[in-house]
Symmetry: C2
Subunit: 384 residues, 2 copies
């Protein structure tokens, strides 16, 4: 079976590693160079999207910011899973909000801003503080602005204008203004849907962000009610999109309620722990769904966590001496803040997981993992 | 880190998959074509052993039947782990028996046969039935003869002569005659030793052979005394060889006693279950040892089993719907009896594992997995 992945980053690489044993060959379309590469060797295999589409039995994507012409070509081939519509929803906060409303799914109060008049209206209609997010170009905290006070409004409007002027060309610009949610914690749900409409979801994951980028995820003990609430949201969104593959949903948790923050039509950073902690990892399940193989069980094997490695190309080798610790490098060149790899760790119970996380936090340099120690401490406290 | 593996089969491939996330690049030396290949793409990377040795930070092997000139070149580079001596022991039953005797390790009564006179003497000294094994060329049941009765002796002697005449050239031929052991079961121990002399072993694995080839392995609940006995044998052999990497030891179990059947200086088929069932799989631990990284925990996560796929290049997709089931194809072309892939399956306890094995045995075609059903039935019985 041959599968073309749109995008040639770490997600394509981890898909390739996960499904090589299933005799599924992954080739990755690098949109930057317009070539098709082997995501494991990174060698160019052949040039061009047309050949890539021809090669593939199925096509999928590792990111959602794909130009619409590429998506249209893939969709026309009949091989694209999930559909171009689903991928576009993940890449455009306006479509995303429309979808959430259509599905009757709880999310933050918001308004779409395309003009200065919209901006002024949002300031009047929504309560401060606001978070403004580029509808199209933002991810990992880029293209986002926080507005705490109306006095900042003019400065921020200038910033937004500058971002777009210097930024994405040829796209219709817009910003989504949301009321900031005073959440208790951020959680996400990763799940799979196959072409028959069967869905299976992993346990909810508790996430911690540092400077807008995911830094730690912990697959938490299942709270049945919360899990059921999240599963219902997953099912309604996945059904509406006639979705095939892995879909991730990020939530804000306020008390017992979940508000959708955003959705990602792909394997997700907050699901990397599934490589060691779940019966079938998200990468394998994505390809199982895409290739019409039976979905694999998404059961938690044991409590597990993931620590992102950002902007660093080495960590102390001694972390490998902590039981149940695995290291996953992406083979990328070093850049400040860049996602370079991650560490997975498991424990037979949450207490053991917390102990191992503490060991790791002590070994990893504080300068680069600056919020890890306090976060692990708060997790330990949460358990007691 | 660059590692050259002598041999380009499934073991090199699974090493490459296991350690790609550690940024360890595996290249495999295909002794047949005298080229160095990428074990994942199977593309030729460059030609020749000399270049391969130059490329490598470390060199290891996936099989023990390597010509001695190749081993000498690798040993001379100072990069070979385990040493050429250890690899040779695995490839020559005479050296293996010498080692077992030197280590004071229990094994079957045996005699080395190089001439007809030795053969006649063995018939007198040892009790029937005997198993005669080629000292150098045999594996997976090839180059083996069973002698139940002295009346068969002349015929078998002619067979042995014919095997050597038609077989391996340029090697000094010999056969090891062993008294057949009326064992209760076959078990194996896979373990790792690092360059500092630290050792960690996986739980004992219970093995079933079909026509001399491993067909099923089950990582069994630990019997402390038996595990300690096996670990002691492992430690003494590994120490004697100043071993670095994964070493496998096959035993016959008779009552509470373990007799060494044979040793394999490499990752081993009976350790494939560690990919899903152990904290760190044997492939990763082998490379951790070879590359001077800390050994990973060898703890059992949960009861696990492996089923070999022999001579077939497809199995029903429905097996993937059995929870905790993973499929590992080796990407090889189909040949009768050839090891083409394996299936791993786990359960939260042995009872659940037995249930899942039963489901799999029902789904897999009986013609190709002919001893699976009765073996699984006997395993179930063993539990109750």
């Amino acid at each position: 079976m041959n599968v073309l992945v749109l995008g040639a980053g770490q997600l394509a690489r981890m898909m390739a590693l996960a499904v090589k044993p299933l005799n599924i060959n992954i080739r990755a379309f690098d949109v930057g160079s317009d070539t098709v590469v082997d995501p494991l060797s990174t060698d160019i295999v052949f040039g061009g999207l047309t050949q890539g589409i021809e090669f593939a039995d199925f096509i999928t994507a590792e990111f959602e910011h794909i130009d619409h012409q590429t998506l249209a070509l893939c969709q026309a081939s009949g091989k694209l899973r999930p559909s171009s519509q689903a991928i576009k929803v993940g890449g455009d906060r306006r479509l995303e909000k429309d979808l959430l409303i259509k599905c009757g799914v709880a999310n933050a109060q918001h308004q779409i801003i395309a003009t200065k008049a919209d901006f002024d209206q949002a300031l009047n209609n929504l309560s401060m503080p606001l978070i403004l997010k580029s509808a199209l170009a933002g991810y990992d905290g880029k293209g986002q602005w926080r507005l705490k006070d109306k006095a900042q409004a003019e400065d921020i409007w200038l910033d937004i204008k500058a971002f777009f002027d210097g930024g994405v060309q040829g796209l219709q610009h817009a910003v989504v203004a949301e009321q900031m949610v005073p959440f208790d914690r951020e959680v996400s749900l990763v799940g799979a849907r196959d072409s028959q409409g069967n869905t299976l979801v992993y346990p909810l994951t508790q996430n911690h962000h540092t400077n807008g980028v995911l830094s730690v995820s912990i697959a938490i003990e299942i709270d049945e009610a919360l899990q059921a609430q999240a599963k219902q949201v997953f099912d309604s969104i996945a059904k509406e999109l006639n979705y095939i593959g892995i879909l991730a949903i990020e939530f804000f948790q306020i008390g017992e309620q979940l508000l959708v923050n955003e959705i990602a039509p792909r394997v997700h950073n907050s699901g990397h722990w599934t490589q060691q902690g779940a019966d079938t990892c998200q990468f394998e399940n994505h390809l199982r769904a895409v290739c019409d193989l039976p979905l694999g069980s998404t059961e938690l094997i044991r409590p597990s966590a993931m620590i992102n490695i950002l902007g660093e190309d080495e960590v102390p080798n001694e972390i490998l001496s902590v039981a149940s610790t695995t290291l996953h490098w992406y083979g990328k060149s070093k850049r400040p803040g860049r996602k370079m790899g991650h560490i997975n760790v498991s424990g037979n119970d949450e207490k053991q997981l917390a102990e191992r996380l503490t060991l790791l936090a002590d070994m990893l340099p504080e300068a680069e993992f600056d919020e890890l120690k306090p976060y692990v401490a708060s997790y330990k406290k949460q358990l007691s």
